[in-house]
């Protein structure tokens, strides 16, 4: 089994890497994080020009038609660069539209979304509820009433895909009557979270699909997010190694001391494991969809932990300077920690794995 990126995928990776490195320097990320909206209009336009808004969306509707592996490559680089962008939420909205929309709905909403001229975001979690993935309590009907929370990038989105108790998705424009968007204070200032109140709101459209149609969308979203966390870990590891080579104490670079070097080795182990789990799941999404749920939970569980523990360890390697606002590491810790709790935390995904490997199935032949 050949398990590496092919030439075309390598090209996507290096294009993304170079663009994001040039576009999101530390000062720029800080500007966006400190801004009122948290949204980078110019950066979005450039990403749209690169075709990223529709990277994994069907070619028939203006996308590039690439797979989950390419999406993972892109999001690993987004994490590495700590890019503040609605690309994740927009991609998920696009995948949901592609999975459940009618041709007419796709023409009207998916095409502009894939081209980057309209932005969508899923509105899934019911405020005050248990925030469990794929479980919703808002009543479906002619008009929607209730509050969705932890909505990604609602401030810069043009429309919401609102989930209801029957597993359906309803398209609501942000400007529709009865919609109120309130910004939350997010742990991660580079990705904004919002609450959206729907007061007797008539949806613009209701997608034809429901329930299980959106499960693969959820699993692909988990893999993309796990890829982003892997990128965060990779960058935090590189920053630590560089610092450990450079910083001198007791007359030697601190990286010569095993307390530091073994910590770095642990960070490498977790980063590589995370990457393997992510690309294994991304491969499954495209090539072996029946194994995607288990593979996605494996990847999201592992990357949930590694995505914040590696930046956390990086802060320890850096010592006092790593704890300052001036150093960038805290942004990586915050993004990683928020990612860990998004789309099902490690505990939730481990439970899915336990269910798959323990429940009912006959034990593999014992030795």
């Amino acid at each position: 089994m050949y398990f590496d990126l092919n030439d075309e995928q390598q090209a996507i990776k290096s294009t993304a890497h170079d663009f994001l490195k040039a576009r999101f320097k530390s000062e720029r990320i800080r500007e966006i994080a400190a801004s009122e909206s948290g949204f980078d209009e110019a950066g979005w336009k450039e990403m749209a020009e690169l075709g990223w808004a529709g990277l994994a969306l069907p070619e028939d509707w203006g996308g590039q038609g690439l797979g989950a592996v390419e999406l993972a490559i892109l999001f690993e680089e987004m994490g590495y660069a700590l890019a503040p962008s609605p690309l994740l939420s927009n991609t998920i909205a696009g995948l949901a539209l592609a999975a459940g929309g009618s041709d007419e709905q796709k023409e009207r909403w998916l095409r502009p979304l894939a081209e980057g001229s309209l932005r969508g975001t899923p509105a899934l979690i019911d405020a005050g509820g248990p925030a469990e993935p794929m479980k919703f309590s808002m009543e479906p009907g002619e008009a929607l009433t209730g509050t969705k929370t932890l909505v990604l990038d609602a401030g810069s989105a043009d429309f919401f895909l609102v989930a209801t108790a029957d597993g359906g998705r309803h398209l609501v424009e942000k400007g529709a009557e009865g919609v109120t968007v309130t910004a939350e204070e997010s742990l991660d200032p580079t990705r904004r979270l919002f609450s959206v109140r729907f007061e007797n709101v008539r949806p613009e459209a209701t997608l034809k699909g429901s329930g299980e149609v959106y499960h693969p969308v959820f699993h692909r979203a988990c893999v993309a997010l796990a890829a982003e966390s892997t990128g965060l870990a990779q960058r935090a590891l590189e920053m630590s190694v560089e610092y450990a080579k450079d910083r001198q104490q007791f007359g030697r670079p601190i990286g010569a001391y095993q307390a530091v070097s073994h910590r770095c080795a642990q960070m490498l182990l977790e980063t590589e494991n995370s990457r393997s789990a992510v690309y294994g799941a991304a491969w499954a999404a495209d090539a072996e969809p029946e194994s995607l749920p288990l593979a996605a939970s494996t990847a999201k569980a592992y990357a949930s932990d590694a995505g914040w523990r590696v930046p956390d360890a990086a802060i320890q390697v850096h010592g006092g300077i790593g704890f300052t606002w001036e150093h960038d590491l805290h942004f990586f810790l915050k993004r990683g920690r928020a990612n860990a709790a998004m789309f099902g935390d490690a505990k939730w995904h481990r439970e899915q794995v336990a269910e798959a490997v323990l429940a009912g199935e006959t034990a593999p032949a014992s030795a």
Binding site: M1, F3, K245, S261, C264, A301, A363
Partner: protein, 295 residues
């Protein structure tokens, strides 16, 4: 090692009986005073005509009692810097000047041996990779061992995981099975997740080896991870057994015939044999991450 460093004659002579299993090999690396610091080894080989005469002692030599051949690293130039005075030999174990003595492990078995050489003889043609080049050949052996060990161990660990799941389903405490207990479910799932990452890492490592020809220091990651997982797995089995975990092989009430007690004890060596986990972390830090050496 024979593939990477052996002469054409050596390849023709040794490879086939290795593949068919006709000739068993053991690895004569570690010595009582040279464990992790392997390059400090003292076993001497002195040239005598067309032959080398070997005197010294090896230890932790797995299957030495059954082996026809020994991959032996000995010091041929005591005046050279420690990494440069070593030579790699293929030694015939079937001679009176070679004596093996089993070491009893914490499991009660004797898998490892001490091996004593009292002027044992090796033909000059049995040097691999040239006189004085033994360190490089030894490193190739170890990298292959680590890459191969981790890869080959995956199906064994998957099998153990299957047995662990069965144990969890069969063990009841407070009216529920361990397989229904949220704490055990989390831990079993985590082991599955880690085994899966290890399996995928092994494929990535294999792809890299196919591209470059020689396993890199990244193989150290797999060996480290394998040791961690195997130890966690056997610890969890004893935890699931609860108070019954006090009973070992031979006891009527021992769970699964005491198999997990044996595995628990045996797995303690996983982070020591074939390069300790602490040393593997040094290798990863220095050779993969490029961090400075302390020495």
């Amino acid at each position: 090692m024979v593939i990477a460093h052996g002469s054409d004659e050596q390849k023709a002579r040794y490879l086939e009986p290795i593949l068919t299993g006709e000739e068993i090999w053991c690895q004569g690396f570690s010595e009582p005073e040279s464990g992790s610091d392997l390059a400090s080894l003292k076993t001497r080989a002195v040239k005598d005509g067309d032959e080398w005469v070997v005197t010294g002692q090896k230890v932790w030599t797995t299957f030495a009692q059954y082996a026809k051949w020994c991959m032996l690293v000995a010091r041929t130039d005591p005046d050279a810097p420690k990494h440069q005075g070593l030579t790699y030999f293929l030694m015939d174990m079937e001679q009176d000047a070679v004596q093996t003595r089993p070491l009893v492990q914490i499991t009660g078995e004797g898998e490892f041996n001490e091996v004593f050489f009292e002027e044992a003889r090796v033909p000059g043609a049995n040097v691999v990779g040239g006189v004085g080049n033994g360190w490089a050949v030894a490193i190739t052996t170890l990298m292959n061992e680590r890459a191969g060990l981790a890869f080959g161990a995956i199906s064994q660990i998957q099998n153990s995981l299957g047995r662990l799941s069965k144990l969890a389903r069969d063990t009841t405490s407070n009216g529920a099975t361990a397989a229904e207990d949220p704490y055990f479910r989390q831990r079993i799932a985590q082991l599955h997740i880690e085994v899966e990452t290890m399996r995928l890492n092994a494929y990535r490592g294999l792809t890299k080896t196919m591209q470059s020809g020689i396993p890199g220091p990244e193989g150290s990651l797999g060996k480290w991870q394998w040791a961690d997982i195997n130890q966690d797995l056997t610890e969890l089995a004893l935890e699931i057994e609860g108070a019954y975990s006090m009973l070992a092989r031979g006891s009527e009430h021992a769970v699964a015939g005491g198999a997990w007690q044996y595995s628990f004890l045996r797995s303690r060596a996983n982070s020591i044999e074939g390069g300790t986990t602490d040393i593997l972390k040094n290798i990863i830090a220095e050779r993969v991450l490029g961090l400075p050496r302390l020495r």
